[in-house]
């Protein structure tokens, strides 16, 4: 019985850590610009596809990953410069539509540049399952969990301990005031897109051995990442990770104990329920606007 429960936990952790990584990318851009970047999933896809195709062509894994990071970062920065920056004064919804347009565009481009096939990568540390209390866990899941943990730590440090990180937050809260204190808001926004694209690419590389990748794999990751980020509280790195893990665990436990057909629905019901009681998610900033 316990082994079964443990197995559900592991399954949930694996999916959850993937969602968490996706959610973290949302958090970064949100922190700098209050924008939800619906193309975040596409960064993950680009990271995964680039790594997978390069690796398949014989490039050593580390080099493939490094190149994928570069590619994703360039795409992220181009997106910011060409599409987000010119519309900086627009409504938030307008910018959301731009990012949706960007995700459609990038998906279309990936389909032209690559193909419609699924691509895979060998697991980084082999495929021998680790047995624990009667349940098994794949080493690659540990990679995903480890990368998420590292990413939260780095992001926490960045946003709470570095002036540049705080400048990013300041830019999202009040662009005008940020300019008045001397923050180069264009640089900040560019950096936030570069950073989240980078994180997306890392995510793409580590999850591909588990989920495979294809030109369309960004859709689901984007959606789940968004859910994770919102559930955890927008802008909070820890929140995105906790949110991702909760979504993953709820899905796994719901499949195990309730109904696998309704596992996604159950996950969304839980999210709705949490939001009813905590309208800014688990770790989101509480409203500080006074009248």
């Amino acid at each position: 019985m316990f082994a079964e429960f443990l197995q559900y936990l592991f399954s949930g952790l694996t999916s959850g850590a993937i969602y968490a990584l996706a959610g973290l990318g949302f958090a970064i851009i949100y922190n700098a610009s209050n924008v939800i970047n619906f193309a975040q999933g596409e960064f993950i896809m680009i990271g995964g596809m680039t790594t997978a195709t390069l690796a398949a062509a014989g490039t050593p894994l580390w080099l493939a990953v490094a190149l994928a990071l570069v590619v994703a970062m360039l795409v992220g920065m181009a997106l910011e410069r060409l599409a987000i920056e010119p519309a900086r004064d627009a409504d938030v919804v307008t910018i959301v539509i731009i990012t949706i347009g960007a995700s459609i565009f990038l998906r279309g481009a990936a389909q032209v540049i690559w193909d419609k096939e699924f691509h895979s990568l060998p697991a980084f540390s082999g495929e021998v399952p680790i047995s624990l209390g009667g349940a098994t866990l794949m080493p690659q899941s540990l990679w995903v969990i480890g990368v998420s943990a590292l990413a939260i730590a780095l992001l926490w440090w960045f946003f709470n301990r570095t002036l540049f990180g705080k400048a990013m937050l300041a830019t999202s809260h009040n662009r005008l005031a940020a300019q008045l204190v001397g923050i180069g808001v264009k640089r900040v926004l560019l950096a936030s897109f570069a950073l989240s694209a980078l994180l997306g690419a890392v995510a793409g590389a580590v999850v591909t051995p588990i989920t495979f990748t294809s030109y369309e794999s960004g859709i689901m990751l984007g959606l789940k990442g968004f859910s994770a980020a919102v559930l955890g509280g927008l802008g909070s790195g820890l929140g995105a990770v906790v949110g991702g893990l909760i979504v993953g665990l709820v899905e796994a436990l719901a499949s195990g104990y309730l109904s696998s057909a309704y596992k996604d629905a159950i996950a969304f019901i839980i999210i709705l329920f949490v939001l009813f009681f905590m309208p800014s998610g688990l770790f989101g900033r509480r409203g500080t606007d006074r009248v």
């Binding site: 347009g101 032209v112 968004f226 629905a265």
Partner: protein
């Protein structure tokens, strides 16, 4: 006064366009696309009340559209209700559901609200996909023609006039509402909830009201769409369809009833025009979406009207 004139003028112009367009419609396919555009416009006009005027986002409206469609299909098919009764009953049920869900959900703001509505849309989609005993599952469900007062609406030409009529009615209702004290209250809630409350406006009640209205618009359009197509699949309730609807509203121009209409027409036509670009279709569509929003951030219609006004020198 000027508002009133612009309103009547707009309605007359729309009626004229609806009356004249068939002259240029070569065959059934064009009629069909026109009907699709008009039905989408009806949803968008309702959604625009919520998004453009009320300042609330919904990424789940395709769910209400689908509930209307499936409501009609199931009530006419399984329970053998008259199509008009099924449509009305579905819209009422959707309105009720929106009312019940609206209270807790509309307390949420911005992206949190987007998430909650998205969740509701997805849950509806999952139920439609899973409960195949009732809905036919992923493979869909067939339904019969629409009949009113013994007249059968069949074929895209009939549908054109029905959809056109309902569209005109929707536009008229929407313009009336916006132009009323209630509509002003709605916009005030968008501007500042605290300010609106201080003026005696029940902000959450107002938001719920417009949420219910917009859901019912979607439901009616869904019912009509289902009868028009004769067959529906759960795809109409998908997240993508919800996003498409919001995009139509924003693209056409938020807080503009005619803008929502224009957005719906354009985004219905665009994929048809791009269909022959094959694998470049997605790239072109994405680029057009981005480009429009970058260069016309207020949306197509408001920007165009602004340009025309400027050209004429009136402010």
């Amino acid at each position: 006064m000027t508002l009133f004139r612009a309103r009547t003028g707009g309605l007359l112009l729309l009626a004229a366009i609806i009356a004249l367009v068939p002259l240029g419609l070569g065959n059934g396919y064009f009629y069909d696309v026109a009907v699709n555009a008009m039905l989408a416009a009806i949803v968008c006009i309702g959604l625009n009340l919520l998004i453009g005027y009320g300042g609330q986002i919904s990424l789940g409206h395709a769910g209400f559209f689908a509930l209307g469609a499936y409501g009609s299909a199931i009530l006419t098919g399984r329970f053998e209700l008259a199509p008009l009764a099924a449509l009305t009953l579905s819209a009422a049920a959707v309105g009720l559901a929106a009312f019940v869900l609206g209270r807790p959900i509309l307390r949420l703001k911005g992206h949190y609200l987007a998430m909650a509505t998205l969740g509701i849309g997805i849950i509806i989609h999952i139920v439609l996909k899973t409960e195949s005993g009732l809905t036919g599952g992923p493979d869909g469900l067939a339904l019969g023609d629409f009949t009113v007062l013994g007249l059968t609406v069949s074929g895209e030409r009939d549908w054109y006039w029905v959809a056109g009529g309902v569209l005109l009615l929707s536009v008229w209702l929407s313009l009336n509402l916006i132009d009323s004290p209630l509509g002003r209250a709605l916009r005030a809630v968008h501007g500042s909830e605290a300010g609106a409350e201080a003026a005696g406006i029940d902000s959450s009640g107002t938001k719920v009201l417009v949420f219910v209205i917009s859901a019912m618009f979607a439901s009616v359009a869904g019912s009509l769409f289902a009868h028009k197509n004769g067959f529906i699949t759960p795809d109409i309730g998908s997240f993508f369809h919800s996003v498409e609807l919001v995009t139509m509203v924003v693209l056409g121009g938020m807080a503009s009833t005619f803008g929502a209409l224009v957005g719906a027409v354009i985004l219905t036509l665009l994929p048809q025009m791009l269909a022959s670009f094959e694998q470049y279709e997605a790239m072109i569509l994405g680029a057009i979406m981005m480009g429009t929003m970058i260069f016309l951030p207020k949306g197509l219609l408001p920007t165009l009207i602004g340009l025309i006004r400027r050209g004429r020198g009136t402010r």
